[in-house]
Amino acid sequence: MKHETPLLNQLESGPWPSFVSDLKQQAEVRAKNEENIEFQIPVDAVEDLLGVLELSYVDGTTHWKHGGIVGVFGYGGGVIGRYCDQPQNFPGVAHFHTMRVAQPGGKYYTAEYLRDLCDLWDLRGSGITNMHGSTGDIIFIGTTTPQLEEVFYELTHKFNQDLGGSGSNLRTPADCIGSSRCEYACYDTQALCYDLTQEYQDELHRPAFPYKFKFKFDGCPNGCVASIARSDLSFIGTWKDEIRIDQEAVQAYIGGEMPPNAGAHSGRDWGAFDIQKEVIALCPSDCMKYEGGKLEINNKECVRCMHCINVMPRALRIGNDRGCSILAGAKAPILDGAQMGSLLIPFIKVEEPYDEIKEVIENVWDWWMEEGKNRERLGELIKRQGLQKLLEVTGVTPDARHVQEPRSNPYIFWKEEEVEGGWDRDIDEYRKHHQR
């Protein structure tokens, strides 16, 4: 290795896969170059990356410079410029930009396709990736400016594959595994995610928004892609009718023939399964009972929390009248504190061509683009102008589902047209009956 890395070396031991070992093996592969690749960025980029990281471990700060505007022609997103602040010591990573590559829904791959990506990135980049970036994209870490257009050209021409989003635009939407392999999915998360991604390519690649905007798609209220916490519009699968019950399977759980919670608790002896304690008593809306060997659910009172279904997946199944709820405005703390998504649409059908859903999205965007300040996330605008305003611009009829509880302060902003006779009154008429 080019640089000594005594601190990083300590991260090679222990059972969890070591990124240091992986980087070292990559450095060796590049140095040997058995495939005779005509590397388009410095051969020793990986060694220099280890070197600069070791330096950060010594002095406790980063050595990446702030920013640098690079990109591919016509796109405002998908590439993030990155320069090292110690280029003389680590020339291999002096320029080390990130490219975000749009990932397939559900993150399914074939080996063949992944190898194509590896070939491309070995030739034109560092051979280092994030699988995956936090937004969901495949992240190529480390290349130089002249390679950006070349990578983009090959992605689009050879692999029928585009870049993802970055900057003040729609970020690459992401979904849970959904109905492709999960029996809890209330709609096809991948189909909706793909359709909207295609529909809004322009918004994804050309920043026109006040700030970033994220869609994420959870197939059910378990929330495996955390959409409620990290997307401006969060689509969470749900149903309106009855949970389907297989009473025989209920008996099998009670009798201990089937493991509760699909075996998720098998690492400890929790005692025999107790349907009263583990399901009925934990139901947040208290809408279940078990009497005379039969499990009954008062579905009208069910809040569809998934608990009973999670515990007895072979006995209980989601209903048949399925769709999704849409929540708006989640974001991380920057700037104004963390926000969870707030309920906007309690229930909407998820059916191609998804026109109803697109109408909601476009109404939200129209409002946000008109009213949002620079770097103001949707959630912050909702806070500033009120949830009522969001309901108004999306044409959603307010109902009790939109709140945890009604307001506790009576400072109600009535609109003039809501008050009989309007706001204009005659002061002279008033004075006839009220002395000064």
Partner: protein, 381 residues
């Protein structure tokens, strides 16, 4: 290193240009058994830590072996993953939201060979390449951000803190002994690219010193109004500064009002704030995103600061362990860490986890702070 052209012509960038085609369509990558049974799955079961079976209405089965992965991953490693997928899974695989890798086979008889193959692959340093686990009431992979490896604003490293933590909790990656799933997330600055604010346990990199001002360059590199308006607390104002005998336009920061978010640095590179001593780790706890039983919750700050202790952050992993063990011992079956803390009360949470409560843990940021103070005489001694 001769330049190899892909066919792109910089003289005519629009020639043959293809744009806006989006990602590859998901269904071309489905393993056949997934394609055939999509939407028809009946139930699933976790056969052992890391091994799932999903059963379809027609009786088809898919067996999934889930393994942990570093999200920072080289092509050499990916090629090895491909090789495994081809050897055992007809060339199919998938990644999970939490950077695990899943190998799927359509018959139980193929599982053992796959598992054996995965378990035996190790890096020269001794770590597993593909540890099996990450399911059910245990600890799965940590979602995280870039850290010192590639970002300009981190207050700590991401890959290193994650490796240190996963080594410590590895037993629970391969076990399902906890009362409920326990999700750990990591973000190396307040931007939280990896969004940790709703995790059972969150590791967050944090700065504690206001920005330095590079007066010499500030006005040349930055838009001063942008820097000023970027500050959520209004701590920045324009200023004329004497600099090496010259009066330059710059900014002044009211240090008392700075909460070290780094937003000014994002807008203005002449306001860096990272620091060897000032930077470190905040630990948060009790968040979740699922709607199961209780509603989603934010994580709460439970340790206001721990120093960066490279390369293994022992104080951080020790504190995380304290929380996991107290939770494991005390919580009821199905109870998430935050639900447990709320049931016993946060004052008791600090006792049981042996954490010190300090004034830093009382919220003082704007309106929402008020809703976190106690307005009741119901509390525990």
């Amino acid at each position: 290193m001769a330049f190899i052209s892909s066919g792109y012509n910089p003289e005519k960038p629009m020639e043959n240009r293809i744009t806006d085609i989006g990602p590859k369509k998901y269904d071309q990558f489905y393993p056949p058994v997934i394609a055939k049974n999509k939407g028809k799955w009946l139930y699933h079961e976790i056969l052992e830590p890391g091994v799932l079976v999903h059963v379809a209405e027609g009786g088809d089965e898919v067996y999934t072996v889930r393994v942990g992965g570093c999200r920072l991953m080289t092509t050499t490693h990916i090629r090895e993953i491909c090789e495994i997928a081809e050897k055992h899974c007809d060339g199919h695989l998938r990644f999970t939201t939490r950077n695990n890798i899943e190998f799927m086979v359509d018959d139980k008889s193929k599982v053992d060979a796959l598992k054996k193959d995965l378990e035996t692959r190790k890096f020269p340093g001794g770590s597993f390449k593909f540890p099996i686990g990450g399911t059910g009431a245990g600890i799965t992979n940590i979602v995280h951000t870039q850290g010192w490896i590639h970002c300009h604003t981190p207050a700590t490293d991401a890959s290193g803190t994650v490796k240190a933590t996963m080594d410590e909790v590895f037993k629970d990656f391969q076990d399902m002994r906890l009362p409920a799933p326990l999700r750990i997330s990591m973000a190396c600055c307040l931007n939280m690219c990896g969004a940790v604010h709703c995790s059972d346990i969150a590791i967050l990199g944090y700065h504690r010193k206001p920005p330095m001002l590079d007066h010499e360059y500030l006005d040349k590199i930055c838009e001063i109004p942008l820097a000023i308006s970027s500050c959520p607390t209004g701590a920045i104002k324009p200023a004329k500064v004497e600099w090496k005998g010259e009066t330059v336009k710059s900014v002044a920061v009211n240090n008392e009002r700075c909460m070290f978010c780094g937003n000014c640095y994002t807008m203005c590179p002449s306001m860096p704030l990272s620091d060897q001593i000032g930077d470190g780790i905040v630990l948060m706890a009790g968040g979740k995103v699922s709607n199961r039983i209780s509603q989603p919750k934010f994580s709460k700050v439970v340790v206001a600061f721990l120093p960066n202790e490279m390369p293994r952050w022992p104080s951080m992993t020790k504190t995380i362990n304290q929380m996991i063990e107290a939770y494991s011992k005390d919580a009821r079956k199905y109870e998430r860490l935050g639900e447990w803390a709320e049931r016993i009360g946060w004052e008791r949470f600090f006792d049981k986890c042996e954490l010190e409560f300090t004034h830093h843990l009382i919220d003082d940021f704007r309106d929402p702070a008020y809703y976190t103070w106690r307005q009741s005489t119901q509390f525990k001694f």
